[in-house]
């Protein structure tokens, strides 16, 4: 594992420090920050790191642009949601749901993988966009199963809810209850999933993926069955996204099209990967952090800014908290302007390899 980390970690010391800070910050959130919002942001941050990294596996490592990645996230979440909606919430049911979700995801990914081989990249990107939008409509039409637009609200195993008290006393000022258990279940699962992806990327398989992205034609000519590699990468990336969806469903205790399937989520993930740096995997951590913090706290900051600016007519209108999306749009643009290779790509190349000669 250490070797895999050594091979893939960005070389730049500052980037490494930032990554470490983020990981520690998330793990110790209950002690470092007050309030439910911080805990929620940290949990969702870890889930999105997994989702964005799994998307990077597809986009950054195989060069496949897909807008249907949130679909797999959604399948994972809905599998859990539907299971808990129909059966008493328990870990057995959860396991069955995970297996079922993975099954469906892999099937869908396999079919989409086959399509992706038949059409040009850019066609594929737009087809997936259409498929993603059809999926949301499908979810709304199958409302008996999915709860439609309104989504599903369900109970989760009691040990993961605030009602479950593990210790009676607070530990350094933090209540140790089911919610905290849930938080750590999410955070540590995310870390494990991320590390598995790191290993895959550092493996010979990961190396082939990079080759496919660079020159598919050449990779074939030296004997790689590009079809098999692409499909495997698509399946892997779908599987990780599905598992991220499972964590999301557990954490939110609600699953609906807006929170796990919408195009907005897809675009957020795309932006996370791009801001962080495509093909770096670690970029997902930085990208997800930037975006989650922006979503959770940008409005508040803008409100403060507006108070300062006060009466300046147009400017204060632009600074109004209601216009936070405007600034998100500018973030898109800025990321392409200033970090076309992403933060990680910009500030550091890959780690230096052992000298060959």
């Amino acid at each position: 594992m250490l070797q895999a980390l050594r091979d893939t970690l960005p070389a730049n010391r500052w980037i490494r420090l930032v990554l470490l800070a983020i990981v520690l910050g998330v793990i110790f959130t209950p002690w470092l920050f007050d309030g439910t919002r911080a805990l929620d942001t940290a949990a969702r941050l870890s889930i999105f790191v997994v989702l964005a990294a799994s998307y990077d596996l597809l986009l950054g490592f195989t060069g496949v642009v897909s807008f249907a990645h949130a679909l797999f996230f959604g399948i994972g979440a809905y599998a859990v949601a539907i299971a808990f909606d129909h059966f008493a919430p328990g870990f057995g049911v959860l396991l069955v749901a995970i297996v079922a979700g993975l099954g469906v995801s892999l099937l869908v990914a396999f079919i989409m993988g086959l399509v992706s081989l038949r059409v040009k990249t850019i066609f594929y990107a737009m087809i997936t966009l259409a498929v993603a939008s059809a999926a949301t409509v499908l979810v709304s039409q199958l409302y008996h199963l999915t709860g439609g637009e309104d989504g599903l609200t369900y109970r989760i195993p009691k040990v993961l809810t605030p009602a479950f008290k593990l210790l009676d006393d607070k530990v350094f000022g933090v209540r140790v209850n089911g919610k905290l258990m849930n938080f750590y279940l999410v955070v540590f699962s995310s870390i494990v999933l991320f590390l598995i992806m790191v290993r895959i990327v550092a493996s010979p398989f990961g190396r082939v993926l990079k080759a496919l992205r660079e020159n598919d034609f050449r990779a074939q000519a030296i004997g790689y069955n590009t079809l098999a590699y692409r499909t495997t990468a698509t399946l892997l990336s779908a599987a990780f996204a599905t598992l991220a969806g499972v964590l999301m469903a557990l954490w939110l205790r609600y699953t609906g099209p807006e929170s796990v399937l919408s195009l907005d989520i897809m675009i957020d993930v795309l932006l996370m990967v791009v801001i962080g740096g495509m093909g770096t995997l670690y970029g997902a951590i930085i990208g997800a952090t930037v975006l989650m913090l922006a979503q959770s706290y940008l409005q508040g900051l803008m409100g403060n800014a507006q108070d300062v600016i006060g009466g300046v007519p147009i400017l204060s209108e632009l600074m109004a908290p209601d216009r936070w999306l405007l600034w998100l749009g500018l973030l898109f643009i800025a990321s392409v302007y200033f970090f076309p290779q992403g933060v990680v790509g910009r500030f550091s190349g890959p780690a230096p390899k052992e000298a060959t000669t």
């Binding site: 010979p204 990079k210 074939q220 000519a221 030296i222 004997g223 060959t356």
Partner: protein, 259 residues
Amino acid sequence: MTTHTTTPVLETRELSVQFGGHVAVNRVSCRFDSGTLTAIVGPNGAGKTTYFNLISGQLPATEGEVRLRGRVLGGRSAAHRARAGLGRAFQLTQLFPRLSVADNLRLVVQAKLGLGFRFWQPASHLIAVDREVEALLERVDLAGRAEVPASQLSHGGQRRLEVGMMLALDPEVMMFDEPTAGMSLDEAPVVLNLIRSIKEAGEKTILLVEHKMDVIRSLADRIIVLNNGTLLADGEPAEVMSLPSVRQAYLGESGEGAT
């Protein structure tokens, strides 16, 4: 020297391909034996590269078949053929431009050893691969530039890497498509000497497309001439080159051409 009684390493039978109304390769039948170097010559657009494409599977043939050690390759993919022992260096350089020179070679060696589907072991633990890559870098004179992205090599360097990637695959049949095109007087010999040493080892079947007559004369055991997709002539270099039809089609009126 060619005895047609034994199975040749590589054989094409009535191999043809059409694009629209244009027949680019027209019923070409040919056998290639182990340890020989066959030069393929012909005017531009004669179908040399296309012939290679048909053999190595980059293009599907409209008719005819390719046999490797007697086995028909049929609709096998390029990847399959590469694994079966058909190696190829391209006329237009095909590299992994943003990967380092060493990584370009590592990928090939890894492919040869069939290590691609390992998900768990760190790639940097493949010591055997690295050792082989070091040797290769020496052979193509790129040892000093191992960690440079391939795209930053000069034209000559990229051509050498292109050849090096085929060597790394160590295939039974090696096909070179104008390996020295655009190389300067001092660089071309590096590649040519490399080809010569492979030939002298006597284990491989080499196909070489070249326009430079001096190169052909010094390397080839046999020449086949393609013109308009058809096999025009096939034989020993001196003999073929003296045929009037070949001189007219290929070398130009003055015979020797401006090589």
